[in-house]
Amino acid sequence: MGTPALRESATLFPKKRRRPHRGYASSVWWFVLPAAVLYVFAVVVPSAQGSFFAFTDWDGVSPNPSPVGFEQFTKILSDPNAVIAIRNTLLVAIVVMVVQNILGLLIALGVNSRIKSRNVLRVLIFAPVVITSIAVGFLWKNLLAPDGAVNQGLEAIGLGALRQNWLGDPDVAIWAIMIVMIWQFVGYSMVIFLAGLQGIPDEVLEAASIDGAGSIRRFWDIVRPMLAPAITINLMLSLISGLKVFDQVWVMTQGGPGGATNTISTLIYSNAFQLGRFGYGAALAVVLTIFVAIASAIQYRLLARQES
């Protein structure tokens, strides 16, 4: 803070804005160049190469793949496994996104209150996030076994009628996998919502209370709009991870029984790396990329409009 005289002189003789040095702009680009080249080398080129194989019949082994145009893409539409995988991928992405974020928000509201054990609860709920998905898959594969802890627990509390063949029933298995995904990542959504909630000033909520706003009104008119950035991030991340789901499915069912839990990612892996149908796997990967891009763009635009 300067003296009044100095402040006056600063107003009378405004400091001449310094123009950037002539070489400044070009030197910035030199700093960007290494990262840009590495990005092109590690991401853009392999992605382009992968996309190229989607237009060939490469089996992952033969040295000279033949071009087949859009044949691999048309095959996707007539492949019942691919249709099931696309349906499952969309189902998982939407259900996990909605349920995980509703639960994450409710939990965040709960542990943002002044209850005594809130820190312990935050840690417990966040803990599954730091476990690798592979480990989570193996853990739940055992818990969901026909005589596993989940069914035994249901029997023990008198809910034996709800006992299921969780991973063996084609109609139930995909839902069991979604429950596991939500269990694992609800803490992730909770943490982001919690950070958003802690950025809302208490005075605003107190003023609303004094003005007679009830808890639902306070949530809808104050908390929800101020949480918009957190909602955007959470929805985007959960949608993308739902579309890409692989680990949990692969560990628990490998896409079975009878292909009932395949997702686009598991189908990409099995076709490209187990069945030697690299071209078909690459075509599925291109489809997945398009799905992710379109879904993310639509969601981002809708949520950005809401934020503004």
């Binding site: 290494p34 082994v61 033969s62 026909p146 063949n165 991973l167 079975g256 009878g258 030697g276």
Partner: protein, 418 residues
Amino acid sequence: MKSAAVLPIAALSVIAVGLVGCSTGGAGGGGDDSTLTISGWSGDETMEAIIAAFEKDNPGVNVEFTGLPWPNILTQINTELVSGTASDVVVVFPGNGNPITAQTLAKGDYLVDLSSQPWVSEFNDANKAVMGADGEILMVANNFTIIPATYNTQALEELGVSAPQTWSEVLDLCTAAKDKGKVAYALGGLAGGTFHYLPYALTATLVDGPNPDFATEQAAGDVTFSDSEWSTAFEQYTEMLDAGCFTTDTLGTSLEIAQEQVAKGDAVGIVTVSNHISDIEGYAPEGTTFETAAFPATDDPSETILPVGLGAGYGVNAKGNVELAKKFIDFYMSEEGLNIALDAGSIFPTVPVEGFEPIPALAGVAEQVQSDRTAAFPDQTWPNSNVNQVYMDQVQKLLGGQTSIADALAAMDSAYAE
């Protein structure tokens, strides 16, 4: 140096370092004549023992072993062979059906032809047919994999029966086991389980027994799954399912749970590959013993054929240290190498070894293997990996009641024709 010049140089240096770090380092292999690299199974103590003996017999030779787990071994070895960075000696499966089988890899000349090696003459034509392609021998395995029915002897005694020798006795065992609150045959229907082995056991007797040329005729388009005894095999499989022969909720049962069931006597038997016997023994309480028998599909025991296939073995990377790799493969198949493998436990050697005694659990099928009343695993002659994938899916669907036998076989025929 002026700063304007320093920036580009620094930037390019970072790029160069980055690219060097990302590079693969050229062709694979050990890098010098006295170093041999091998990619095998993680935790393969038998291989480690063979390597130690090889190094002892060849002073100055250093063997670097990389153990890889299932199923990563498939993708890693395949990718390394294609990119020219594979070890000198790599795991290769016989026949077709996955990315590192002899016939898949034959398309790219990635493996060395071993047909002039001394041990080749020990193998019969059926085996040679799945060890390579177009007259070349691209891999060799020192052990057979067998698909017997493995029984918990104490559980059989508790029921007062012996291992079934006929199809009727199989169904009788199912009834007897159910009456005692047991499962006759543990069946892991979850992915990676045991659900796909029992049809192989049935088709060995029903398909390959009456027609040993079935695979050749199928390749020529003269026969199909749908118009063969495969339909009888699937009928018998579903008959067992309907008769309550298998673990309840079989599609949700993992390999480990199925193994535990037979190990602890909750199930009387299991139809699975011989490699699993040591795992089952590991789960079993002390004093439990196991016995094996060929799984019957008819009521005439003399018709029963045992599925026996070459196990996973090794091939030589064409871009590696070829001479030293061949020397190692010869050692692996030598009497000394085979004896080391036999000392390590549950293997059935692919070539005669003097004084060989199978482990006690495999004694029940030893005579049948040695007298060659056997058939190869059908998947080793299927023309593409997708047949196997479709087969697995269809068997799971049959167990789940989601398809008919006719539709399942039609789907397999369709995959075969791709």
